[in-house]
Symmetry: C2
Subunit: 580 residues, 2 copies
């Protein structure tokens, strides 16, 4: 635990101390540090509200004055049980420590003692900046995260080294809130949910559907240009398929229950690989066919706990831009992995992402000592890891190495991205696979006419469409670049006499594929401009008598007061370029 | 039963008589007429083979000479049971007739007597043209179609009024066999199946995927041009959604078993309607928003018995070009239905289909006396049926009327198509719905600010993509028009020195979006031309030294010996037009 995490952990204790002072019959349970602060879960006898947080904060600021030091003491089982005899949660924790034959330690600051494993500021009063923390919110939580257990009240806090850091975080958080794709998704009418459809199964409205369609066609066309063969396989298959691939034991818990059809068990697919392998195996292949790149916008189903679901980011069904490249040998796999990274860099550039800042690569290696998690084949792991490292070394790219993060069938390159809150996450991966070709008997005839095993590269180019849409909504704060905008141009006729001309202009723009609306509502022009700005439409074309006479439009960008008069053709050739 | 069907039924009896003559211990069961002949199911003591069919045919031609008349006689239960005491199948049929309290009739010709309901040629020897029939094939069949019963041997025959009709049918059948989309799908490498994926779940290869992608983009773009809003909803939802729509009891048997998720039951959707209704209900609507046309390429799941499955034509999961149009009132619904038919005619023309010949409309009306099958609302049915009839009357189209074929929520127009065997089938429908708007409370604010119920039009434009692909494979016998062809152009360099130029030409064509391959295999040019013809590639470009020097290509169409020399630009502008 680093110093900041130790401080945050100490803040959690301080919170518990303050709560006990104010609510003596509350029962503290556990309180760890988090990425930006801390939380503590309590069993309250009567519920508290957000309004109580200020009071608790005030008490924390009072209590800290008595916290000169944080003392640790190893105690006997008896002493521990006596101290927490009225707290069944702590008693249960003690049971666990005793069962595991570990030391029981108490941490005491001021008059507050907690059962704890440690990791604290040694001199809380001196080290904790009481202006660098704030209590943030209340939430429900289950004891030990299990919904069959008691429901507890979780108090979240933010804490940093300095007030400046806290302020900066709060500003970023405010900005992130504004950019939250769930909030913008509603405001911009991009997606919605339905109770009778179900959680984690969002519906894309006509505007959200434009985002998906444009992204899907963009990536499919780009992949075809780069030699991928796009195919369509099925979203469900017999359980046997996932048993054959060996995925079943690993994915069982995140797959939906089987569906019985004529006595056979079918499953919604959690991954595409075995489907592409079956397609590959449906005909013989020669070395001249390789590398063979099967790609698909594949609908996948993964079970996620309802508490994990979030907008388009964490869903129960998603569409992955997936591909499996059948290679003749490790060298060819290396060259294909390099090409896959070229495509990823190309896509990232299209979204204005900077390597090393917005995204980077992480080389995930196998932990060779773990035979259960990793397929045993030292030589194959050596070859594969060398190839991946070489590919990365040769590129102008940022990457880190991580041991023990590989897939069970080989090492991989994770594409790491940072979201608006600065949080890092694996967006998708490029994987080297020397195991599946054995399981699926993926072979080709080499130049000497002999059967030879393929190496398979699994890769995505853009990840899941739902997730990249969520990411882009937040990145652009809903103000999408022209090519992605659901509505690209809005035409605003000043009066109803101009309607005909407005629709004429619309027709001209539609001819070149522009997504354009006319807003001839009875509202004032000012109101209609504000409404188009709120919708974040890239360009408004205001048209009145003068425009009709000169066959022009007055162009106004969404983020700009400036107005420019242009002919329709000029507008098209200067503004409506880069349509995808 | 018409005269031809009576003759076919008589042929079935004649077949049974001949079989009993040759195989006295065979047990005849049932033998009805079919669309192009007849069959009879037998229990044989030892299996027969295709080679035996000639012998049986010969015996039929002998036996017919004794069949001057066909006599009918009502018999007692006792006589019937005595006659068939050694035939448990006929005995079971007698049980059924007795239980239903019906007359038992025997039909006798020559020395052959069968238990039968009738429908025969009165004078078989005179009426049956023994040159106008043939025994076609053997197949396995279960007694009463139930796989738990005994397996029987079915003998199929074709029979017509004249030899000319039979010959014409056999020619068409041969042609249909050649065009069978399952056969061509394999030969042209368009789709495949996998035992571990499952029956009725075909996989589209890279070439088949082109057909789907091109058709999908064609119809989506055309619909958007015509004011449809394409959306994406989910392929599964809670059972409640289908209960709410009232579909559940009607579709239960053709839906897959529910999937349990966190104690809730989810189902794979058998139809799109309730999903679009939920999307509509997610926000308020004004009369100014209507008509609102939600469209989607919707993946649907329907359970089909494994015996019913066939290639891409009958599958367990398909993608329907679906739409639901929310209309302000019946008049608007009428106008939208008319526009939907415009789109259907447009698409049909694109496929070269002729109204009245290849396709026509069928107006399906409700049977008002059937309260169980049809929603009770006389006035609404009257209005809806008038509107549909008016729409059809006003068009230059062929249509027929069918009572009792409507959906439970309103009348519809079926789009009937003829396949290569001349068989008529409903390809898809346009439906008028006044029931779902009540169930889903589909309302909008009318011009006076009051809530008013919508009328919904359900429609497809092209049907299921899988099915239309199967239809088009058979229609074009795999020789797709240029815009649909998986590979549009194949470049054949005469020698390997020309390879560079071949790939240069490829690049030029790819720039304008042509799907093009280079075949520089070591085979002779003649062999490569034949291979491209077999693949039914629309154009081959042969390039040699002369072409390199003059920057030209020698164009050869798939169905033509003629060769034309053109510059690359000339080829593009003359041959690569109409890319979609």
């Amino acid at each position: 635990m680093n110093d900041l995490q130790k401080k945050r952990h100490t803040f959690a204790h301080l919170l518990a101390a303050a709560v006990l002072k104010l609510y003596p019959d509350a029962r503290p349970t556990i309180g760890p540090p988090t990425d930006n602060g801390f939380y503590y879960d309590f069993a309250f006898s009567t519920p508290i509200t957000d309004a109580d947080l200020k009071k608790i904060e005030k008490q924390m600021k009072k209590t800290i004055n008595t916290w000169e030091t944080m003392e640790v003491r190893v105690v006997s089982e008896e002493e521990a049980r006596a101290q927490f005899k009225d707290n069944k949660y702590k008693t249960e924790l003690i049971d666990g420590i005793v069962a595991a034959d570990q030391e029981i330690t108490f941490y005491t600051a001021g008059d507050f003692t907690d059962l704890c494993e440690g990791g604290h500021a040694a001199e809380p009063k001196k080290e904790l900046d009481m202006k660098a923390f704030t209590l943030a919110s209340l939430a429900g939580a289950y004891w030990r995260g299990d919904e069959n257990n008691d429901q507890l009240t979780r108090i979240y806090g933010y804490a940093f080294n300095t007030k400046e850091e806290l302020d900066a975080f709060m500003v970023m958080r405010e900005e992130a809130k504004k950019r939250d794709h769930r909030k913008l998704g509603k405001e911009l009418d991009l997606f919605t949910t339905s109770d009778v459809v179900g959680s984690g199964l969002p519906l894309l409205t006509e505007k959200g559907a434009v985002l998906r369609r444009v992204l899907e066609r963009f990536i499919v066309d780009e992949e075809i240009k780069r030699g991928y063969k796009h195919v369509y396989t099925q979203d469900m298959a017999k359980v046997e398929l996932y048993e054959k691939s060996g995925h079943y034991p690993y994915y069982k818990d995140s797959m939906y229950a089987p569906i019985d059809v004529d006595g056979e068990r079918f499953m919604l697919r959690p991954m595409t690989c075995p489907h592409h392998f079956e397609l590959f195996s449906s005909k013989p292949h020669s070395y001249r066919d390789l590398p063979l790149r099967y790609a698909e916008i594949a609908k996948l189903y993964r079970y996620e706990q309802s508490g994990e679901l979030s907008g388009l980011m964490r869903v129960r069904s998603f569409n992955l831009a997936d591909a499996h490249i059948f290679c003749a040998d490790p060298e060819q796999a290396g060259s294909e992995i390099s090409s896959a990274l070229d495509l990823i860099d190309f896509v990232a550039e299209k979204f204005g992402l900077t390597m090393g800042e917005d995204y980077w690569y992480s080389l995930s290696l196998g932990d060779r000592t773990d035979d259960k998690k990793y397929f045993k084949d030292e030589a194959a792991w050596d070859t594969a890891e060398d190839i991946l490292r070489n590919v990365l070394e040769k590129r102008d790219c940022h990457y880190v190495e991580n041991e023990g993060e590989a897939a069970f069938y080989g090492p991989k390159i994770d594409i790491q991205m940072k979201n608006v809150l600065g949080k890092e996450d694996t967006a998708f991966t490029v994987q080297y696979d020397f195991v599946m070709p054995k399981r699926f008997d993926l072979k080709y005839k080499n130049a000497s006419g002999e059967d030879q095993e393929c190496v398979v590269v699994h890769r995505s180019s853009i990840g899941a469409l739902e997730r990249i849409i969520a990411f882009l909504i937040e990145r652009y704060a809903g103000a999408f670049p022209f090519w992605l905008s659901p509505v690209q141009v809005k035409i605003l006729p000043i009066t109803s006499e101009i309607d005909d001309y407005a629709f004429e202009v619309k027709k001209e723009l539609e001819k070149v594929g522009v997504r354009v609306d006319v807003d001839n509502d009875s509202e004032t022009l000012g109101k209609r401009i504000r409404s188009a700005q709120k919708e974040k439409v890239p360009y408004m074309l205001v048209v009145g008598k003068e425009e009709v006479e000169n066959k022009t439009v007055t162009v106004r960008a969404r983020d700009n007061q400036e107005q420019i008069k242009l002919t329709i053709d000029e507008f098209i050739s200067n503004y409506c370029t880069n349509l995808i």
